[in-house]
């Protein structure tokens, strides 16, 4: 039954509803978006004649900066999410079995409150009179101080890529609301459960007696975590990275509500162009750019997975061969 090759009337009948629906409402719109990028726009908000003017206008230095900013923030959010998710997943996987599902459920529970409402709750938490503002100023000072210790070329590189700002930050002007930090913080808050879950699923299958063996052989806790646990759950880490990175690339509600004018990402630009300026071709071109930004890491992850599998298989082959030849020699 499973894997039957012949296609008949039954197959068409079962496939058609969903296939037609998704073709009409997913594939066709994607093609329309792509087609619109090769049109100019008219003054009254319509779509103009075929032309390359939209793509020519995208070279405008504004757009590459925004794309890079979006990618950079996605990197930062992914980094912090994974850093926080790894020990959490480890801790949950080491719990007694009946506690595991309770804690895993507790991690997913916040999702039953509306996303917008949660982001709004954060907005009040980040109010300039609140205690998080004081934490933010301390954090800025710590960053400033540690930045001064870095070698010069690294400082220049970080400033150039936008991970750090040149010069000291004025504490009287720095508010956590309407800053990039607020966007990163709340994005981590929103997507952290999506990072914990895949790593936890991988960690649950991990054989923890390997860690004990490593300790018996004299490895420190951190060393065995890095050299044995991390490679053991790498599949989960890869899917966690994708689960966080891709939605952050497309996020626009969080920067809109918490980022102010400081933090405008591709998502916000698309929304502005499509809904406020009524410049449909520009919005389409930005959407195409975003799709490329998403598909590149996705493709890279798939390629990496395939290569890893091929390498594992080759290693196994070599080992079996060696075993068989050595067995033959003795």
């Amino acid at each position: 039954m499973n894997g039957r090759k012949s296609s008949g009337k039954a197959e068409w009948l079962t496939t058609m509803p969903s296939l037609a629906w998704l073709a009409l409402f997913f594939a066709v719109p994607s093609v329309i978006v792509l087609a619109f990028t090769f049109h100019g726009h008219t003054a009254n908000g319509g779509v103009g004649e075929w032309s390359l003017s939209t793509w020519r206008e995208l070279v405008d230095p504004d757009y590459p900066t925004i794309v890079w900013k979006t990618v950079r923030i996605s990197f930062e959010v992914t980094f912090w999410s994974i850093i926080l998710a790894l020990p959490c997943a480890y801790a949950i996987a080491r719990m007694p079995k009946r506690w595991r599902s309770v804690v895993a459920g507790a991690i997913m529970l916040p999702f039953w409150t509306s996303f917008v409402v949660r982001v709004f709750a954060w907005k009040t938490l980040l109010h300039p009179d609140g205690w998080l503002q004081a934490c933010y100023l301390t954090w800025l000072k710590v960053c400033d101080w540690s930045f001064g210790w870095l070698p010069g070329f690294l400082q220049r590189f970080l400033v150039w890529t936008g991970f750090a700002t040149a010069g000291h930050v004025d504490p009287s002007l720095a508010t956590i609301l309407d800053s990039e930090t607020a966007v990163v913080l709340v994005s981590v808050y929103t997507f952290l459960p999506f990072a914990i879950m895949p790593i936890y699923t991988a960690a649950e299958k991990f054989d923890f007696s390997l860690l004990e063996a490593a300790r018996d052989l004299g490895a420190t806790n951190f060393y065995s975590f890095r050299k044995i646990f991390l490679p053991g759950v790498r599949q989960g880490v890869v899917s966690a990275v994708l689960m966080v990175f891709i939605p952050v690339i497309g996020s626009y509600v969080i920067p809109q509500m918490l980022g102010g004018t400081e933090c405008i990402l591709i998502g916000n630009k698309i929304f502005m162009r499509a809904m406020q300026n009524r410049n449909i071709p520009h919005a389409s071109a930005l959407a195409t750019l975003m799709a490329v930004t998403v598909l590149v890491p996705m493709g890279a992850a798939m390629w990496w997975k395939r290569r890893q599998e091929a390498r594992d298989r080759r290693k196994l082959d070599v080992r079996t061969n060696r075993l068989m030849t050595s067995g033959g020699a003795s």
Binding site: M1, N2, K5, A10, E11, T14, T15, P17, S18, L19, W21, L22, F25, F26, A27, V28, P29, S30, I32, V47, P87, C88, Y90, A91, I92, V103, I107, L109, P110, W112, T113, S114, F115, V116, V117, F120, A121, T124, L125, Y189, L192, P193, I196, L211, R215, L242, I246, P247, G250, S251, V253, G267, I270, F271, A274, M275, A283, S284, M290, V294
Partner: protein, 274 residues
């Protein structure tokens, strides 16, 4: 082996991090001063705790008319989108499970790609479709969009369930003289039901929480709960009502989850007894 205190402490910190805003949502539902969102009145005196937002919700107060309207619209759309995406998702999952042809690999690609695309891209491309066809945005465009992004999640959930489905049961039904329709409704559907229910629940939560796609295709004047709330956050004196309503929803889902857990436990016990 020694327990790792570091990772346990991290887990506790992360749980606190995840729950602080939820706690705030519950607390904010009792705020008396809705304009400044604070427990203090204009002259700086503590104004106490109030339950007036809850009573306004339950008595159907006029000041909350638009909010409640958007809330019921969200429920309607989520309900309809859930039913439609479950029907489409079940047929799609059955087809993907049963056949391995070129058609199915195309089908699979179409089902899988929306999952890896950010929501905003689905939103904008649907908006472009409606613009290109000259359709006015409103209730129907929201519904269509919600069905579109829910289908893929439902298919994936049901496919996972189909993986441990014993296909010989279907063949046995055929051998015993059942037709394809009879087999579907009396054999496959009951076995798949838990998967369909899980997929439907996922679709419902995704649909009721969606703000990104809806904000592209809702047109002027039609607001679901999330889009209405995000427009309210700028200037509104009734904001605590949003938090009160969210608290009620949270309570409701907690009770539902608890009940489903009890029912599931009862069922496994029954199966064990058998």
């Amino acid at each position: 082996m020694k327990r790792s205190y570091f990772s346990t402490a991290m887990l506790a910190a992360v749980l606190a991090f995840l729950y602080v805003p939820i706690l705030l949502v519950v607390v904010y539902g009792f705020i008396p001063n809705g304009i400044a969102m604070s427990f203090y009145d204009a002259s700086g005196n503590f104004a106490g705790v109030t339950g007036k937002w809850y009573s306004m919700i339950f008595t159907g107060d006029n000041r909350l008319g638009a909010l409640m309207e958007s809330f019921w619209l969200s429920l309607t759309i989520a309900g309809l989108a859930t039913v439609a995406s479950c029907v489409l998702g079940t047929t799609a999952a059955l087809a993907l499970h049963k056949w391995r042809s070129r058609l199915q690999s195309l089908h699979h690609a179409l089902v899988y790609t929306p999952l890896i695309m950010p929501d905003i891209l689905i939103g904008i491309s649907l908006l472009m479709l409606f613009v290109a066809c000259g359709v006015d945005c409103g209730f129907w465009t929201i519904l269509v969009s919600h069905i579109t992004f829910c289908v893929s999640y439902v298919v994936m959930t049901i496919l996972a369930r189909l993986q441990d489905f014993d296909d010989r049961i279907v063949e046995a039904a055929y051998d015993l003289g059942a037709g394809p329709w009879y087999t579907f409704f009396h054999v496959q559907l009951p076995i798949l039901m838990p998967g369909i229910v899980a997929g439907g629940l996922l679709a419902f939560t995704l649909s009721i929480d969606d703000v990104v796609i809806t904000s592209f295709v809702n047109g002027a004047g039609t607001n679901t709960f999330p889009t209405y709330v995000s427009s309210m956050t700028k200037h509104s004196r009734n904001l605590p009502a949003v938090f009160a309503l969210s608290t009620l929803m949270l309570l409701f889902t907690c009770v539902l989850a608890g009940l489903s857990k009890i029912v599931a436990r009862g069922q496994t016990q029954k199966e064990r007894l058998r």
